[in-house]
Amino acid sequence: MSMIITAVLVLLGLALIFGAVLGFAAVRFKVDGDPIVDQINDLLPQTQCGQCGHPGCRPYAEGIANGEPINKCPPGGESTIQALADLLDVEALPLDAEHGEEKPRMVAYIREAECIGCTKCIQACPVDAILGAAKQMHTVITDECTGCDLCVEPCPVDCIDMLPLPTTPQNWKWDFPLPSTALIATDASRGAA
């Protein structure tokens, strides 16, 4: 009898100890927020363009965490969808054309002679990449521009162009070799000619 009581007491004691440890850990190592949202946000291109229908990249990351489709980000394009699919272990979908097409990286350019200095584009820029003041000419800091398009619409004189980022020797990329045509060895000389 006493053995049973001892066993019960020991088990009870253990349960209390582990309960206390777990309780402490739950408080001590509490995770604030949803870490998956941060991970998704890291994969998004951070153009803050709103083409996905959310007011910025983080809200879309939250949306994805809550089960929204992962193919709504045109600036990220194929590679972002692939990365998101890998992260979330879901199937990579083709880009949803409803939200736009994947375009080469763009950069806003203000035709400065036409700028009237209304500051509307400055207010629209999500990353503060436009420099200027009221009634002063504005200009885009190219290095900071994410090419999100948001400044184009508010401009009352339509003096903002979205131009593709020029290729320079600095950002030029080597091409992958063309896929080899299936030549057999005896055709090699003909293929070379």
């Binding site: 946000n41 890291d42 998004l44 291109p45 951070q46 153009t47 803050q48 910025g56 990249c57 590679s79 999500p126 990353v127 503060d128 990449a129 900071e144 994410t146 290729t167 320079t168 020797p169 600095q170 950002n171 030029w172 990329k173 080597w174 091409d175 992958f176 070799p177 080899s180 045509t181 030549l183 060895a185 090699a188 000389s189 293929g191 070379a192």
Partner: protein
Amino acid sequence: MTAATPIRIWDIPGGIHPAENKTQSLGHGIEIAPLPALLTVPLQQHLGGRAEPCVSVGDTVLKGQIIAEASSMVSCPVHAPTSGTVTAIGPAPYPHASGLEEWAIHIEADGDDRWCELQPVTDFRALEPVTLLELIRQAGISGLGGAGFPTAVKLKARPEQKIHTLIINGTECEPYITADDSAMRYRAPEIIAGIEILMHVLQPEQVLIGIEDNKPEAAQAMRAAVGERAMQVVVFPTKYPSGGEKQLIQILTGKEVPSGGLPADLGMVCQNVGTLLAIHDAVVLGQPLIKRITTLTGEALSHPTNVEALIGTPIRELLDFAGLQPDKLFRLVMGGPMMGFTLQSLDAPLVKTTNCLLAGTRDELPPPPPAQPCIRCGLCAEACPASLLPQQLHFFALGKDYDQLKRQHLFDCIECGACSYVCPSSIPLVQYYRAAKSDIRALDLQQHKADHSRQRFEHRQERLQREAEQKERDRLARAEKAARIKAAKEAEAAKQAESGAGTPTSDAPAPKAGGLSPEQKQLKIAAATAQMALKKAQKQLVANPDNAELQAQIPQLEQAARQAQEAFDQAQGESSNQPAAPAPQAGGDDETKKLKIEAAMLRAALKKAERSAGDSPSEEQQAEIAKLREQVEAADARIPASTTTKKPVDEKLKQAKLDLAMARAALKKTERALSENPEDADLQAQLANQQQACQSAETALHEAENNSPIPPPQRQLVDKKPVDEQLRALKTSMATCKADFKRAERELKDAEQAGGDTVAAQQHLDTARAALDVAAKAFADYMASKETN
């Protein structure tokens, strides 16, 4: 290896032995390339930041003068290679695998080749290492071996790393290239002087000069130049690619540079012999880096040789100097056949990293055979000097599996091309690695940029939120303040009401507290309505003075309004039992009322007289008006002060207005008289006097207006001259015609621009013009007739 050198030679893994092809270009020593007419000096010739031009188009520059400043830490200044004039600054052909243009300064040589003032250092040992480094930096020296990293940055000692071994790279393992070989053969003393400068800067314990055994003359010359100095010339077996920095270090010391690390992590620095020559020139001669030794070779050249050429010399001119046969040229390669890249244009200039120009014929540099599938033979892995697995890298690159590529140390690949060289399937392996590397770099850059953008976005959001919160706080503060003030006012009002109610003289609530009995209110409303109806009728009459019905209506309305007002006044008078202190509205006695009525009637008569007189009153009319005005004034004066003016009137202002009106009337009179009798000198003098008087009256009025205590809305500053009906009609018709004409003009213009039918528009324009002419004529006639009247 000599007996005197106890240095042990190590081996590197892999490596190949391609045909050397070095003898062709070694027959003529170092020749001096002719001075070109036009030089193109690119602003970026190496890794790092692009230099900022500090000259402008049209400037005259001297040889060695700085023409572009270093833009950042990892950047080199650029110097004028010869004296001449800057003709352009802008994108120009550039020797790059992409064939893209790069910003460059164009200099038209004047042929004098005149140096700017040089500051040679006679005794570099007297200088601090830091000063020497700055000299090297200012001379624009970047590595002349191939990669072109700014030398000063490479030499800059990091405090935690003591450089104990200085390695001089005279290996030149690539086939065809003999630039370093020639430099060592013919410029050995200068190279040794350069080494001594570096030794002074770095204070190494050991200096090793590595030379492959296929260059015995160079090794001999270097040994002779070294003499008794504390340097060792190490000759080791020829093998490609032992000239790579990491490979050379491994051969000479047996140590491997860690993956992703630098030789400095091992306490070593490696410099190319060409760079040392440049350091010698910069310090001992004071000349910046404006020339270099380049190998011109290949079977398409009839005179392959080594030249010392100015940076910026067009490649075409150099090749012509070496006897280029254009029909034979199949591929022009900058660098060697293993690591070089094909140049797409002969117009690109020589840059600091151009160690060789290989003009190959078709037989010499045949197009690569088509790639076959990998057969997993493993020859590439055997050949790889960095002990990588080229096969694996190839497959991961094909699948664009960048994580795996990084895990397989893709970035330790030195792109030497040994794997491609041995591949039996002729797979262009290096091209895969280069493409994968640039993709990964671009992705990293993109990721970096995304992080940066996110940070900026978040900071912006924070800022906006801060601003919004501040606004909200300010708004609350304002609301609170307003509420306080209102509460204080209410409290005061309540206090007053209390004290007012305390006086026994008044039963009804005082009018100040806003208390009117319902009856009074009704009367007040009735009075206001009647007044409004009267005003409306008067306005209509002004617009339409000949309407008899209206004229009849007005007195009736006046009567009604007066009655209503009287009723209201009476009611109020009854309500306040205190005749001693009547409120302004509470003028209850009949006499005052009568006077008021009289005054109002007189005023109405005056107005009527004024209206009928129009803008050209006859003298009788004027007299009548003046009389009426006097009567009105008299009547007003008779009404007791407390009751005459419901609205406050500024006496001074009134006086000023009166004065002005009188002065104007007198002026007009004189003018008329003068028009009838233009020769009268007296009249003319009078006119001048009156004009003066009129003007001073006007200024007085303005002053009075400004000083008037009455708020502006209660004053009527403008005295509009009545416009007669006909004039108005004429003016309106003219304006309509004008608008029509303008519209027609616009239509015509649009039609012209659109290229459409202009005939109809032209017709419309003509009719509109005719109508406008008619209207303008009618107006002019009318004005003329009025003048004569």
